[in-house]
Symmetry: D2
Subunit: 376 residues, 4 copies
């Protein structure tokens, strides 16, 4: 029942590689079988040992070697997790897709819209699963939001207000280390806050409501001013149903942890979710007392309950959200292997990744053009 998979990245202390590994484990459906954790051979070996990759033969010096070798094996990996910097996503994803290997890739999908579209087409043409780890989409109560919106609990959506302030950039600058590739325009970086975390919010808008952002008016601010890319991003947007919305994200906001908050307003009610208490969901029906829904209580939707693992009140967190994304992705692969096609699994897909890249580009263009409305 376990899928064999490999990881690219994770060997240099970047936290996200380790999150992928734990998320895959928590899904209960995948077993680490191959890896290329870093280009440093010594560290690569250490990471393999630390992560209990048992078969040294399947530790690779670079991703191409890994794609070739695993693609050629009978017992080759069934999917690969790409956890490396943004400018590598395109070529790595392409290499594995071409070998017929399913891909789970970190966000944002690629640097350019063309690259994103090419990957989408490639995955579709090869009938391969392609997941994107928009992490917040994995929380049970985010799924609950979608279920409630679909069930009409909010009536028509009339407004969305979301934000993601944090302070990591300031911590990094203070620690003396420049946040490397994220600010390196020579490596294709065109946006900092919007591309790093604004894109999470764009996805949450879609994953909680099914509505797409069709147009943006963005202002990108450099805090501190000498920063080469924006650290503060404010985006007015229009939704596919005509409703307005707003998104604010900032990586230079003192006093915030990872304070994702999304509020969806409808004609009959509203919903609010906050990352600081991910197992709770505020639901307000017009003229009634506000309700606080708690994760894994029986009144939640089947989709939400399927992403809940512990008795109500026992906190689940970020790793478990990753686990839920991996679980949906793995189940779809298992279905494909079994020739089934009717399963409906919830995880961010390559089409979400494409939309995300379009969103980033539209925001950057809107700002460059003087804060004007720009279509995605």
């Amino acid at each position: 029942m376990y899928l064999r998979y490999g990881i690219i990245g994770g060997g240099n202390g970047a936290f996200i590689g380790d999150v992928h590994r734990k998320g895959a484990y928590l899904s209960g459906l995948a077993k680490l079988t191959a890896g290329c954790f870093t280009r440093d051979p010594q560290k690569n070996i250490e990471c393999a040992k630390q992560w209990n990759l048992e078969d040294n033969e399947r530790l690779y010096a670079n991703f191409r070697e890994m794609a070739d070798a695993e693609g050629a094996r009978k017992d080759g990996i069934e999917f690969v997790s790409i956890t490396t910097p943004n400018d590598t996503h395109y070529e790595m994803s392409k290499a594995f897709l071409e070998k017929g290997i399913h891909v789970m890739c970190d966000k944002p999908l690629t640097l350019t819209i063309d690259e994103a579209l090419e990957l989408e087409e490639l995955a579709n043409s090869k009938n391969l699963c392609f997941g994107i780890t928009y992490s917040y989409a994995g929380y049970a109560m985010i799924r609950q939001m979608r279920s409630m919106v679909e069930a009409g609990e909010l009536g028509d959506i009339v407004n969305i207000v979301c934000e993601y302030p944090q302070d990591w950039l300031l911590l990094r600058l203070d620690a003396g280390g420049a946040p490397q590739w994220r600010l390196d325009t020579s490596r294709g970086a065109i946006s900092l806050a919007t591309g790093d975390i604004g894109t999470h919010m764009e996805h949450l808008v879609y994953s909680t409501t099914g509505l797409e952002i069709t147009e943006v008016l963005a202002r990108l601010d450099h805090i501190p001013p000498e920063l080469p890319l924006e650290s503060n991003s404010t985006v007015m947007f229009k939704l596919s149903n005509g409703a307005p919305g707003i998104l604010w994200c900032c990586v230079a906001a003192i006093g915030h942890d990872s304070d994702v908050r999304i509020r969806v307003y409808g004609t009959k009610g509203s919903l609010e979710w906050f990352h600081g208490t991910p197992g709770l969901l505020k639901f307000a029906r017009f003229k009634e007392p506000v309700q606080i829904l708690a994760m894994n209580r029986p009144y939640n939707s089947p989709e939400s309950l399927a992403a809940s693992h512990l008795p109500a009140g026992h906190p689940e967190g970020y790793y478990e959200a990753f686990g839920n994304i991996y679980e949906g992705f793995c189940r779809e692969i298992l279905d494909k292997k079994a020739g089934k096609t009717d399963g409906k699994y919830i995880y961010p897909k390559v089409s979400d990744g494409v939309r995300g890249v379009k969103f980033i580009h539209a925001c950057v263009k809107s700002d460059k053009d003087g804060n004007v409305w720009t279509k995605l």
Copy 2:
């Protein structure tokens, strides 16, 4: 020591007149001496009785009569509180100022910028106090914010994010009653959400930081669509020190009470205040644990403590905030009477009212012109 004052309005069940009366009482410096509570003679008498206006001679049928009579008495009122609909503020304020009577007026000051400027000039030329009841400015912890900003606790201000969602419009529409003059364009109404509550936020930006909004890019949305004026307002703004900011207000947001929230970010720290817990203030210093300051604790500033009346932890609310505004206003009048000029009293003044009217007009124009940057 008590100042004699009169009230215009309050007799038709509008809540704000009663708030003025209680605020004036809580200041401990003013005594209700005259009034014109409504144009309905019977109700006028009833209100006088209910509010313990003892001298029937000083109950007036209309504001002009009151201004004339009180202006002519030796023991005439020393100030008047204007608590009537927006389109009456200008002529009423003018009438009393011309009689040499100080004025406390509800926000927004006037319908047009010219009217506002005229009142400002008139008050200044006559050396009269002119207060505006931007109610939230009266909270002790809002004063604490200003004290901390002035003391440099935040470093340079780099961003302001504020909002005021509530649901009163929906409640009113549901109750069948149209919210009358607020939506009546024939009575000069040009904005609903921005003029009603956005203006509070504009003032909070100034009163907490001393920074003025110099330019806005606003989007005004009609929720529900058939509404003649906007109920949802999103405003990107630029501050006088060059920093960016954003303001969202909505009178059609299910799930909110009167949820004013203002967050000020600086290079060294940030502050956040929320109306639901008005006696608390979140303060974050870079790299340190978040602090929660509580009202009337000794570590607060003298300005904040002066607006705190009960032992820490005993909640003070909206009436008390009004009381604080009235207290500053009355103290300044008392100083004038005593020939003193060095007192520094904190309350919103006519200049704040002028800036508020400019803000509303700039937002409306920005939206009409297609969401473009518009100077105040």
Copy 3:
């Protein structure tokens, strides 16, 4: 419509006298007409001036003089507010009751049970209103709790957990000033925390549920150890319906403001109220999402709405709670004057005061006897 009333106390900066004055004003039914604010003649005059007591003739040197003179006047005060230290409540209350004047007295009612019973009998025999300012009972959402319990929303009450931690004693000790009469056993003090704030909780248990505490097992701790009376009090109790409960109060708990919290558990649901957000009430129905009720929303009970004055979300606080207690008390007096007897007004009465004194004595006895069950 206004009742004439006098105040005893309030002239030495003790906060509670001023709270009574503001509460009486906010009730909209009482006018300060006489007073004896302190035994210091100069301060007495200053306080009269500051509080706008207009008629100097009705400023008295001591309470007996005031009872005699006001009792003899045709336009004498209709009720008196007693805001002085605990050991004076008995004789003052008695003096005014004997003159046929209604009494509002601070808690605890008296030092001894016999005194309390005597006052109760006296008030009843003279058909006079006798209110006790158990302040928290004045909050709108405390009334909402009672309404919901009476409506059966909780089913049978099976448990009550309440607490009141604060730090005022430590602040006072730190400031060098001993908290005078509260610790002065020669003035009859037998308890600090239990008598000062535990008694509030005992009353909240009753006023939210209608259940009486019939038996206690108390432990009284001296923090710091050299304190002559207890500052920390833990009380297991039995309710009149047989259900258990617990009460903890402490005046030496660093990190707390005035953190009253009461939780009532039933077979069908539970309620929780916290003083830090007095306008909210948590309500949980078995197997349903938790609800947060907000003050002055239409879904609240008539009793709760009658104690709510501002639109939902505009905070009301401690003064307003006092105002609500005064309003019920005054309305009952007005009814008596009008010969009506069918009004049902909510305010703590002398019978509540008697029960409160019994509670304090039972706790002290239980502790002295070695933490054993002791009947009230």
Copy 4:
């Protein structure tokens, strides 16, 4: 580097077995190598498959067979995790200890004090590690509490107030299923709430402060009354430094998830931790603003940071707390293997388990004897 381990239990859908498995994985130091998941042979096989136990030879029909076989192998398991009902802990632990295999056992350790003492002696005499999964002790901010207490941040501890209300019993009764062995006195059950969750609180008192509970006065209530054992437990206690404290736990409290809360008060400051936001810690210093410490911020102690895995603000939950307990346990075993003895690893040990059993018995005795002080 990975330790080989086996699990007993987990095969019948009880959630705690799965938590052990995930916790062991998240420690990064243990690999599931053997198991006896249930006595049902078919389910045993299924569970092995689901949990990726690769070697069928090491799936056992019962715990004795497993202890014998693994104890005899050269590559036998190095520790066993016991996740079965309470009445089996003793004999299972004993069987593995006798084979020289380290033990991780669920709480409470045993049914009787004698059994607990025997296991402690056995483990000590064989120099084996014996961990107890008092889960809450694994949270990073619980470790932070201990660090701060040890650093003297609170001064002397003067009071502890802790509680654990939840509603699981009511849910189970409502679902028709009696909660089996937990209420089965014929299987040695003597307590429900105290033994199931009160014991967690007793351990938190110790693990956050290093102080032991020396004496208790307990009241055990049956809610609903027909329950054979108590579902509501209130315990006054005395600490080894003479300070008082109180503990309340209830498994029949509507409106609660898993609402562990512990508050420790000292002469200089206080700390409060709540399970609903496990990554935060409230810290109040006398006369200073309350502080909110957030997990994995650099200002935390090394012990707390060692138990933090994700950037600040990315929630970690219950599985991760288990992971931290397993990590400390595994590191100590690894040290033993390497002949090191100077490592200091934080995890609940057999001595904690012994104290826990004594606590439960003392509470039951105190209640039986009429709520009297009872020594542990």
